[in-house]
Amino acid sequence: MFSVPNSHQNDKEMENKVITDVCIIGAGPVGLFAVFEAGLLKMRCHLIDVLPQVGGQLSEIYPQKPIYDIPGFPAINAQELVENLKEQIAPFKPTFTLREKVEEVIKLETGEFLIRTSENSIVEARVIVIAGGLGCFEPRKPELKNLARFEGRGVNYFIRNTEIYRDKHVVIAGGGDSALDWTLFLSGIAERVTLVHRSESFRGAPDSAGKVFDLAGKGKIDLLLRTNVTGLVGEDYLEAVLLEHADGSVSGIKADFFIPLFGLTPRLGPIAEWGLNLHNAAIEVNTFDYATNVPGIFAIGDINTYPGKLKLILCGFHEAALMAQSAFHIVYPDKKRTFKYTTVYGVHGF
Protein backbone atom coordinates (compact mmCIF):
# COMPACT_ATOMS: atom_id res chain seq x y z
CA MET A 1 0.00 0.00 0.00
CA PHE A 2 1.29 3.48 -0.74
CA SER A 3 0.11 7.07 -0.88
CA VAL A 4 -0.54 8.82 -4.15
CA PRO A 5 -2.31 12.04 -5.05
CA ASN A 6 -5.82 11.99 -6.47
CA SER A 7 -4.43 12.54 -9.96
CA HIS A 8 -3.61 8.82 -9.92
CA GLN A 9 -7.15 8.16 -11.03
CA ASN A 10 -7.85 8.34 -14.72
CA ASP A 11 -11.13 9.31 -16.34
CA LYS A 12 -12.32 5.74 -16.92
CA GLU A 13 -11.85 4.90 -13.27
CA MET A 14 -13.78 7.99 -12.25
CA GLU A 15 -16.73 6.92 -14.38
CA ASN A 16 -17.00 3.48 -12.75
CA LYS A 17 -16.08 4.48 -9.25
CA VAL A 18 -18.24 3.68 -6.25
CA ILE A 19 -17.95 6.22 -3.47
CA THR A 20 -18.99 5.03 -0.03
CA ASP A 21 -18.24 5.52 3.64
CA VAL A 22 -17.12 1.99 4.42
CA CYS A 23 -15.80 -0.61 2.01
CA ILE A 24 -16.21 -4.08 3.44
CA ILE A 25 -13.99 -6.73 1.88
CA GLY A 26 -15.76 -10.04 2.30
CA ALA A 27 -19.51 -10.59 2.30
CA GLY A 28 -19.69 -13.46 4.75
CA PRO A 29 -21.88 -13.29 7.87
CA VAL A 30 -19.57 -10.93 9.71
CA GLY A 31 -19.17 -8.61 6.72
CA LEU A 32 -22.94 -8.54 6.31
CA PHE A 33 -23.56 -7.75 9.96
CA ALA A 34 -20.98 -4.97 9.80
CA VAL A 35 -23.39 -3.23 7.39
CA PHE A 36 -25.99 -3.21 10.15
CA GLU A 37 -23.69 -1.81 12.81
CA ALA A 38 -22.31 0.80 10.41
CA GLY A 39 -25.82 1.63 9.25
CA LEU A 40 -27.00 2.37 12.76
CA LEU A 41 -24.30 5.04 12.82
CA LYS A 42 -25.35 6.42 9.42
CA MET A 43 -22.45 4.99 7.49
CA ARG A 44 -23.09 3.57 4.03
CA CYS A 45 -21.36 0.37 3.01
CA HIS A 46 -20.18 -1.28 -0.19
CA LEU A 47 -19.16 -4.92 -0.04
CA ILE A 48 -16.75 -6.77 -2.33
CA ASP A 49 -16.50 -10.55 -2.51
CA VAL A 50 -14.78 -12.92 -4.90
CA LEU A 51 -17.65 -15.39 -4.70
CA PRO A 52 -20.71 -15.00 -6.92
CA GLN A 53 -23.03 -14.85 -3.92
CA VAL A 54 -22.93 -13.36 -0.44
CA GLY A 55 -22.62 -15.57 2.63
CA GLY A 56 -18.96 -16.55 2.49
CA GLN A 57 -18.13 -20.00 3.87
CA LEU A 58 -21.72 -20.48 5.00
CA SER A 59 -23.10 -20.34 1.49
CA GLU A 60 -20.08 -21.81 -0.29
CA ILE A 61 -19.08 -24.68 2.00
CA TYR A 62 -21.88 -25.65 4.34
CA PRO A 63 -25.21 -24.01 3.43
CA GLN A 64 -27.33 -26.80 4.88
CA LYS A 65 -25.36 -27.36 8.07
CA PRO A 66 -27.02 -26.31 11.32
CA ILE A 67 -25.23 -23.76 13.51
CA TYR A 68 -25.95 -24.03 17.23
CA ASP A 69 -24.16 -21.04 18.77
CA ILE A 70 -25.92 -18.04 17.30
CA PRO A 71 -27.51 -16.31 20.29
CA GLY A 72 -31.27 -16.59 20.23
CA PHE A 73 -31.29 -19.42 17.69
CA PRO A 74 -31.06 -22.89 19.27
CA ALA A 75 -30.26 -24.10 15.75
CA ILE A 76 -30.21 -22.32 12.42
CA ASN A 77 -29.10 -23.53 9.02
CA ALA A 78 -26.13 -21.65 7.63
CA GLN A 79 -27.95 -20.39 4.55
CA GLU A 80 -30.95 -19.35 6.63
CA LEU A 81 -28.65 -17.23 8.78
CA VAL A 82 -27.30 -15.58 5.64
CA GLU A 83 -30.84 -14.87 4.41
CA ASN A 84 -31.76 -13.40 7.79
CA LEU A 85 -28.70 -11.16 7.73
CA LYS A 86 -29.56 -9.96 4.23
CA GLU A 87 -33.03 -9.03 5.48
CA GLN A 88 -31.60 -7.37 8.57
CA ILE A 89 -29.25 -5.10 6.60
CA ALA A 90 -31.65 -4.32 3.74
CA PRO A 91 -32.79 -0.98 5.30
CA PHE A 92 -29.23 0.28 4.96
CA LYS A 93 -29.15 -0.38 1.21
CA PRO A 94 -25.70 -1.91 0.93
CA THR A 95 -24.21 -2.19 -2.53
CA PHE A 96 -22.14 -5.11 -3.78
CA THR A 97 -19.36 -6.01 -6.16
CA LEU A 98 -19.35 -9.81 -6.46
CA ARG A 99 -17.12 -12.24 -8.38
CA GLU A 100 -14.23 -9.82 -8.00
CA LYS A 101 -11.13 -9.96 -5.86
CA VAL A 102 -9.60 -6.89 -4.28
CA GLU A 103 -6.17 -6.60 -5.79
CA GLU A 104 -4.90 -3.25 -4.57
CA VAL A 105 -5.50 -0.78 -1.78
CA ILE A 106 -4.14 2.74 -2.15
CA LYS A 107 -4.24 5.47 0.47
CA LEU A 108 -4.95 8.80 -1.16
CA GLU A 109 -3.49 12.05 0.14
CA THR A 110 -7.01 13.14 1.03
CA GLY A 111 -7.16 10.32 3.56
CA GLU A 112 -9.57 8.17 1.61
CA PHE A 113 -8.77 4.69 0.36
CA LEU A 114 -8.97 3.67 -3.25
CA ILE A 115 -9.72 -0.01 -3.69
CA ARG A 116 -9.15 -1.69 -7.04
CA THR A 117 -10.53 -5.12 -7.91
CA SER A 118 -9.44 -7.85 -10.29
CA GLU A 119 -11.96 -6.51 -12.84
CA ASN A 120 -10.76 -2.93 -12.35
CA SER A 121 -13.78 -1.84 -10.38
CA ILE A 122 -12.87 1.10 -8.18
CA VAL A 123 -14.28 1.88 -4.75
CA GLU A 124 -13.38 4.97 -2.78
CA ALA A 125 -14.04 4.81 0.93
CA ARG A 126 -13.12 6.54 4.16
CA VAL A 127 -12.80 3.24 5.99
CA ILE A 128 -11.90 -0.30 4.97
CA VAL A 129 -13.20 -3.26 6.93
CA ILE A 130 -11.58 -6.56 6.05
CA ALA A 131 -14.02 -9.35 6.84
CA GLY A 132 -12.41 -11.82 4.51
CA GLY A 133 -12.76 -14.99 6.56
CA LEU A 134 -9.84 -17.19 5.66
CA GLY A 135 -9.16 -15.27 2.47
CA CYS A 136 -10.35 -15.37 -1.11
CA PHE A 137 -11.88 -18.57 -2.33
CA GLU A 138 -9.76 -19.81 -5.19
CA PRO A 139 -9.88 -23.02 -7.18
CA ARG A 140 -8.03 -26.05 -5.87
CA LYS A 141 -5.38 -26.82 -8.44
CA PRO A 142 -4.02 -30.23 -9.32
CA GLU A 143 -0.28 -30.64 -8.93
CA LEU A 144 0.84 -30.62 -12.54
CA LYS A 145 4.30 -29.39 -13.39
CA ASN A 146 3.42 -26.95 -16.14
CA LEU A 147 -0.10 -26.03 -15.05
CA ALA A 148 0.62 -22.31 -14.60
CA ARG A 149 2.08 -22.07 -18.10
CA PHE A 150 -1.24 -23.08 -19.64
CA GLU A 151 -3.54 -21.05 -17.37
CA GLY A 152 -5.59 -18.90 -19.73
CA ARG A 153 -4.04 -20.85 -22.63
CA GLY A 154 -6.32 -23.83 -22.44
CA VAL A 155 -6.53 -24.37 -18.67
CA ASN A 156 -9.59 -22.76 -17.11
CA TYR A 157 -10.85 -23.16 -13.56
CA PHE A 158 -14.17 -21.41 -14.12
CA ILE A 159 -16.55 -21.69 -17.03
CA ARG A 160 -17.91 -18.29 -17.88
CA ASN A 161 -18.38 -17.96 -21.63
CA THR A 162 -19.49 -21.40 -22.79
CA GLU A 163 -19.19 -20.45 -26.47
CA ILE A 164 -15.40 -20.67 -26.37
CA TYR A 165 -15.80 -24.43 -26.00
CA ARG A 166 -17.93 -24.86 -29.11
CA ASP A 167 -16.54 -27.57 -31.39
CA LYS A 168 -13.48 -27.98 -29.17
CA HIS A 169 -12.00 -30.96 -27.37
CA VAL A 170 -12.57 -30.44 -23.66
CA VAL A 171 -11.17 -32.50 -20.80
CA ILE A 172 -12.83 -32.02 -17.41
CA ALA A 173 -11.29 -33.47 -14.25
CA GLY A 174 -13.11 -33.96 -10.96
CA GLY A 175 -15.78 -36.02 -9.28
CA GLY A 176 -18.09 -33.46 -7.71
CA ASP A 177 -21.36 -31.92 -8.78
CA SER A 178 -19.77 -29.17 -10.85
CA ALA A 179 -17.66 -31.66 -12.84
CA LEU A 180 -20.78 -33.70 -13.57
CA ASP A 181 -22.97 -30.70 -14.40
CA TRP A 182 -20.44 -29.06 -16.71
CA THR A 183 -19.77 -32.36 -18.46
CA LEU A 184 -23.46 -32.62 -19.20
CA PHE A 185 -23.73 -29.01 -20.33
CA LEU A 186 -20.64 -28.94 -22.52
CA SER A 187 -21.48 -32.27 -24.13
CA GLY A 188 -24.02 -30.34 -26.18
CA ILE A 189 -21.53 -27.68 -27.26
CA ALA A 190 -18.05 -29.15 -27.53
CA GLU A 191 -16.79 -31.45 -30.25
CA ARG A 192 -15.81 -33.96 -27.58
CA VAL A 193 -15.98 -33.92 -23.80
CA THR A 194 -13.87 -36.27 -21.70
CA LEU A 195 -14.55 -36.53 -17.96
CA VAL A 196 -11.58 -37.83 -15.99
CA HIS A 197 -12.23 -39.04 -12.46
CA ARG A 198 -9.85 -40.63 -10.01
CA SER A 199 -12.27 -43.15 -8.48
CA GLU A 200 -14.86 -45.41 -10.07
CA SER A 201 -18.05 -43.81 -8.81
CA PHE A 202 -19.53 -40.39 -8.19
CA ARG A 203 -20.98 -39.22 -4.93
CA GLY A 204 -22.47 -36.06 -6.40
CA ALA A 205 -26.10 -35.67 -7.40
CA PRO A 206 -27.25 -39.19 -8.42
CA ASP A 207 -29.37 -37.73 -11.20
CA SER A 208 -26.38 -35.97 -12.81
CA ALA A 209 -24.16 -39.00 -12.35
CA GLY A 210 -26.80 -41.19 -14.01
CA LYS A 211 -26.97 -38.86 -17.00
CA VAL A 212 -23.18 -38.85 -17.33
CA PHE A 213 -23.06 -42.66 -17.33
CA ASP A 214 -25.91 -42.67 -19.85
CA LEU A 215 -24.09 -40.29 -22.24
CA ALA A 216 -20.91 -42.34 -21.89
CA GLY A 217 -22.84 -45.51 -22.61
CA LYS A 218 -24.16 -43.97 -25.81
CA GLY A 219 -20.67 -42.90 -26.82
CA LYS A 220 -21.49 -39.20 -26.68
CA ILE A 221 -18.80 -38.42 -24.11
CA ASP A 222 -15.70 -40.20 -22.92
CA LEU A 223 -15.77 -41.16 -19.26
CA LEU A 224 -12.40 -42.22 -17.87
CA LEU A 225 -12.72 -43.59 -14.34
CA ARG A 226 -9.82 -44.58 -12.06
CA THR A 227 -7.72 -42.24 -14.15
CA ASN A 228 -5.60 -39.20 -13.30
CA VAL A 229 -4.39 -36.32 -15.43
CA THR A 230 -0.61 -36.37 -15.07
CA GLY A 231 0.65 -33.89 -17.62
CA LEU A 232 -0.16 -31.10 -20.04
CA VAL A 233 1.30 -30.85 -23.53
CA GLY A 234 1.40 -27.94 -25.96
CA GLU A 235 3.45 -25.13 -27.40
CA ASP A 236 1.78 -21.74 -26.93
CA TYR A 237 -1.59 -23.30 -26.13
CA LEU A 238 -2.71 -26.59 -24.66
CA GLU A 239 -2.85 -29.38 -27.21
CA ALA A 240 -3.17 -32.59 -25.20
CA VAL A 241 -3.34 -33.99 -21.69
CA LEU A 242 -1.48 -37.04 -20.43
CA LEU A 243 -3.39 -39.63 -18.42
CA GLU A 244 -2.42 -42.39 -16.05
CA HIS A 245 -4.88 -45.25 -15.73
CA ALA A 246 -5.52 -47.63 -12.85
CA ASP A 247 -3.42 -50.38 -14.43
CA GLY A 248 -0.44 -48.03 -14.60
CA SER A 249 -0.67 -47.49 -18.33
CA VAL A 250 -0.25 -44.00 -19.72
CA SER A 251 -1.99 -42.36 -22.64
CA GLY A 252 -2.57 -38.97 -24.15
CA ILE A 253 -5.70 -37.36 -25.58
CA LYS A 254 -6.26 -34.27 -27.68
CA ALA A 255 -7.40 -31.33 -25.56
CA ASP A 256 -8.03 -27.73 -26.53
CA PHE A 257 -9.18 -27.09 -22.97
CA PHE A 258 -8.48 -28.69 -19.62
CA ILE A 259 -10.93 -27.74 -16.86
CA PRO A 260 -9.96 -29.04 -13.40
CA LEU A 261 -12.99 -28.78 -11.12
CA PHE A 262 -11.79 -29.68 -7.63
CA GLY A 263 -13.75 -27.14 -5.62
CA LEU A 264 -12.63 -23.93 -3.97
CA THR A 265 -10.29 -23.31 -1.08
CA PRO A 266 -9.46 -20.03 0.65
CA ARG A 267 -6.12 -18.28 0.18
CA LEU A 268 -5.04 -15.06 1.87
CA GLY A 269 -4.10 -13.63 -1.52
CA PRO A 270 -3.28 -9.95 -2.07
CA ILE A 271 -4.21 -9.01 1.52
CA ALA A 272 -0.73 -10.19 2.47
CA GLU A 273 0.74 -7.31 0.47
CA TRP A 274 -1.13 -4.38 1.99
CA GLY A 275 1.35 -3.58 4.72
CA LEU A 276 -0.75 -5.10 7.49
CA ASN A 277 0.85 -6.90 10.40
CA LEU A 278 0.19 -10.62 9.96
CA HIS A 279 0.56 -13.64 12.19
CA ASN A 280 -0.08 -17.13 10.83
CA ALA A 281 -1.92 -15.67 7.84
CA ALA A 282 -4.26 -13.66 10.06
CA ILE A 283 -4.30 -9.88 10.51
CA GLU A 284 -3.18 -8.60 13.89
CA VAL A 285 -5.67 -6.18 15.47
CA ASN A 286 -6.18 -4.51 18.82
CA THR A 287 -9.20 -5.52 20.83
CA PHE A 288 -10.36 -1.97 21.48
CA ASP A 289 -11.88 -1.55 18.05
CA TYR A 290 -10.30 -4.29 15.88
CA ALA A 291 -8.16 -1.73 14.08
CA THR A 292 -5.12 -2.97 12.19
CA ASN A 293 -1.72 -1.26 12.22
CA VAL A 294 -2.88 0.83 9.23
CA PRO A 295 -5.13 3.68 10.38
CA GLY A 296 -8.56 3.44 8.79
CA ILE A 297 -8.33 -0.29 8.09
CA PHE A 298 -10.12 -2.66 10.44
CA ALA A 299 -10.21 -6.46 10.36
CA ILE A 300 -13.06 -8.48 11.85
CA GLY A 301 -14.10 -12.12 11.91
CA ASP A 302 -11.95 -15.12 11.09
CA ILE A 303 -9.36 -13.03 9.24
CA ASN A 304 -8.06 -11.31 12.39
CA THR A 305 -6.03 -12.49 15.33
CA TYR A 306 -5.49 -11.24 18.87
CA PRO A 307 -4.82 -12.89 22.24
CA GLY A 308 -7.74 -15.17 23.02
CA LYS A 309 -9.18 -15.08 19.51
CA LEU A 310 -11.99 -17.53 18.82
CA LYS A 311 -13.06 -18.08 15.25
CA LEU A 312 -16.78 -17.92 15.91
CA ILE A 313 -19.44 -16.04 14.00
CA LEU A 314 -20.78 -14.57 17.23
CA CYS A 315 -17.32 -13.16 18.06
CA GLY A 316 -17.21 -11.58 14.61
CA PHE A 317 -20.57 -9.91 15.27
CA HIS A 318 -19.19 -8.39 18.46
CA GLU A 319 -16.09 -7.21 16.64
CA ALA A 320 -18.27 -5.55 13.99
CA ALA A 321 -20.13 -3.57 16.65
CA LEU A 322 -16.97 -2.22 18.26
CA MET A 323 -15.33 -1.53 14.91
CA ALA A 324 -18.25 0.65 13.86
CA GLN A 325 -17.86 2.92 16.88
CA SER A 326 -14.34 3.87 15.83
CA ALA A 327 -15.11 3.93 12.13
CA PHE A 328 -17.73 6.59 12.89
CA HIS A 329 -15.04 9.01 14.07
CA ILE A 330 -13.17 8.57 10.80
CA VAL A 331 -16.23 9.00 8.59
CA TYR A 332 -17.64 11.86 10.68
CA PRO A 333 -14.61 13.49 12.36
CA ASP A 334 -16.59 16.56 13.37
CA LYS A 335 -19.60 14.78 14.84
CA LYS A 336 -20.11 13.52 18.33
CA ARG A 337 -21.26 9.94 18.54
CA THR A 338 -24.11 9.14 20.87
CA PHE A 339 -24.92 5.57 21.73
CA LYS A 340 -28.45 4.53 20.84
CA TYR A 341 -30.24 1.29 21.64
CA THR A 342 -32.35 -0.05 18.78
CA THR A 343 -35.04 -0.86 21.35
CA VAL A 344 -35.35 2.86 22.11
CA TYR A 345 -34.76 4.45 18.72
CA GLY A 346 -35.57 1.65 16.31
CA VAL A 347 -33.75 1.06 13.04
CA HIS A 348 -33.78 3.92 10.55
CA GLY A 349 -32.52 2.98 7.14
CA PHE A 350 -31.34 5.19 4.32
Binding site: L134, E143, G176, A282
Partner: protein
Protein backbone atom coordinates in the same frame (compact mmCIF):
# COMPACT_ATOMS: atom_id res chain seq x y z
CA UNK B 1 -9.20 -30.68 26.04
CA UNK B 2 -11.15 -33.38 27.80
CA UNK B 3 -8.66 -36.21 28.12
CA UNK B 4 -9.27 -39.03 30.57
CA UNK B 5 -7.04 -41.75 32.00
CA UNK B 6 -7.70 -44.39 29.39
CA UNK B 7 -4.97 -46.46 27.79
CA UNK B 8 -2.78 -44.23 25.65
CA UNK B 9 -2.64 -44.69 21.90
CA UNK B 10 0.68 -44.36 20.16
CA UNK B 11 0.82 -43.24 16.57
CA UNK B 12 3.45 -41.84 14.24
CA UNK B 13 3.05 -38.61 12.36
CA UNK B 14 4.98 -37.48 9.30
CA UNK B 15 4.52 -33.74 8.85
CA UNK B 16 4.52 -31.78 5.62
CA UNK B 17 8.27 -31.15 5.84
CA UNK B 18 8.95 -34.87 6.16
CA UNK B 19 9.76 -34.91 9.89
CA UNK B 20 8.56 -38.06 11.60
CA UNK B 21 7.57 -38.11 15.25
CA UNK B 22 5.83 -40.59 17.53
CA UNK B 23 3.07 -39.15 19.71
CA UNK B 24 0.91 -40.57 22.45
CA UNK B 25 -2.70 -39.56 22.92
CA UNK B 26 -5.42 -40.74 25.31
CA UNK B 27 -7.55 -43.38 23.66
CA UNK B 28 -10.80 -41.69 24.56
CA UNK B 29 -10.02 -38.06 23.84
CA UNK B 30 -13.34 -36.39 23.12
CA UNK B 31 -12.07 -34.45 20.15
CA UNK B 32 -11.39 -35.63 16.65
CA UNK B 33 -7.87 -36.44 15.53
CA UNK B 34 -7.50 -33.15 13.66
CA UNK B 35 -8.09 -31.22 16.89
CA UNK B 36 -5.82 -33.57 18.82
CA UNK B 37 -3.01 -33.07 16.29
CA UNK B 38 -3.38 -29.30 16.61
CA UNK B 39 -2.64 -29.62 20.33
CA UNK B 40 0.67 -31.20 19.31
CA UNK B 41 1.37 -28.06 17.26
CA UNK B 42 0.72 -29.61 13.88
CA UNK B 43 -0.64 -26.80 11.77
CA UNK B 44 -4.06 -27.35 10.33
CA UNK B 45 -6.11 -24.51 8.88
CA UNK B 46 -9.39 -26.45 9.15
CA UNK B 47 -11.59 -24.07 7.17
CA UNK B 48 -14.77 -26.02 7.92
CA UNK B 49 -13.89 -26.60 11.56
CA UNK B 50 -14.18 -30.37 11.40
CA UNK B 51 -17.24 -31.08 9.28
CA UNK B 52 -15.33 -33.10 6.72
CA UNK B 53 -15.97 -30.50 4.04
CA UNK B 54 -12.76 -28.62 3.32
CA UNK B 55 -10.00 -31.28 3.28
CA UNK B 56 -7.54 -28.97 5.04
CA UNK B 57 -6.84 -31.95 7.35
CA UNK B 58 -6.34 -34.39 4.49
CA UNK B 59 -3.84 -37.08 5.45
CA UNK B 60 -2.52 -40.35 4.13
CA UNK B 61 -2.52 -43.44 6.33
CA UNK B 62 0.50 -45.36 5.13
CA UNK B 63 0.31 -48.02 7.84
CA UNK B 64 -2.80 -49.22 9.63
CA UNK B 65 -5.42 -48.02 7.16
CA UNK B 66 -7.30 -51.32 7.30
CA UNK B 67 -7.86 -50.98 11.05
CA UNK B 68 -9.69 -47.65 10.79
CA UNK B 69 -13.48 -47.35 10.75
CA UNK B 70 -14.89 -47.00 7.24
CA UNK B 71 -15.28 -43.38 6.11
CA UNK B 72 -18.80 -41.99 6.17
CA UNK B 73 -20.49 -40.60 3.08
CA UNK B 74 -19.46 -36.97 3.75
CA UNK B 75 -15.78 -37.88 4.04
CA UNK B 76 -15.91 -39.94 0.88
CA UNK B 77 -17.63 -37.14 -1.00
CA UNK B 78 -14.98 -34.61 0.02
CA UNK B 79 -12.10 -36.97 -0.79
CA UNK B 80 -13.73 -37.58 -4.14
CA UNK B 81 -13.39 -33.99 -5.29
CA UNK B 82 -9.88 -33.05 -4.15
CA UNK B 83 -7.11 -33.47 -6.69
CA UNK B 84 -4.45 -35.20 -4.61
CA UNK B 85 -6.42 -37.92 -2.81
CA UNK B 86 -5.17 -41.49 -2.95
CA UNK B 87 -6.70 -44.80 -1.81
CA UNK B 88 -4.89 -44.22 1.52
CA UNK B 89 -6.43 -40.79 2.05
CA UNK B 90 -8.52 -39.90 5.09
CA UNK B 91 -9.67 -36.68 6.74
CA UNK B 92 -8.26 -36.54 10.26
CA UNK B 93 -11.28 -34.53 11.44
CA UNK B 94 -13.43 -37.58 10.76
CA UNK B 95 -11.29 -39.91 12.89
CA UNK B 96 -12.01 -40.17 16.59
CA UNK B 97 -9.22 -41.33 18.89
CA UNK B 98 -9.40 -44.97 19.92
CA UNK B 99 -7.59 -48.30 19.84
CA UNK B 100 -7.93 -48.37 16.06
CA UNK B 101 -5.29 -45.62 15.83
CA UNK B 102 -2.73 -47.72 17.72
CA UNK B 103 0.45 -47.92 15.68
CA UNK B 104 -0.78 -46.15 12.58
CA UNK B 105 1.52 -44.03 10.43
CA UNK B 106 -0.18 -40.83 9.36
CA UNK B 107 1.25 -38.49 6.76
CA UNK B 108 -0.09 -34.94 6.85
CA UNK B 109 -1.15 -33.43 3.55
CA UNK B 110 -3.88 -30.79 3.45
CA UNK B 111 -3.33 -27.15 4.26
CA UNK B 112 -1.65 -25.42 7.17
CA UNK B 113 -2.29 -21.79 8.05
CA UNK B 114 -1.11 -20.61 4.67
Amino acid sequence: MAFTDSEPVRLTIKDRSGDIRAIEIPGDAEYNLMEVLKTFNYKMRATCGGMGLCADCHCRITDGLDRLPEPAWQELETLDVIPDATPQSRLSCQLMPGEHLQGILLELLGTDHY
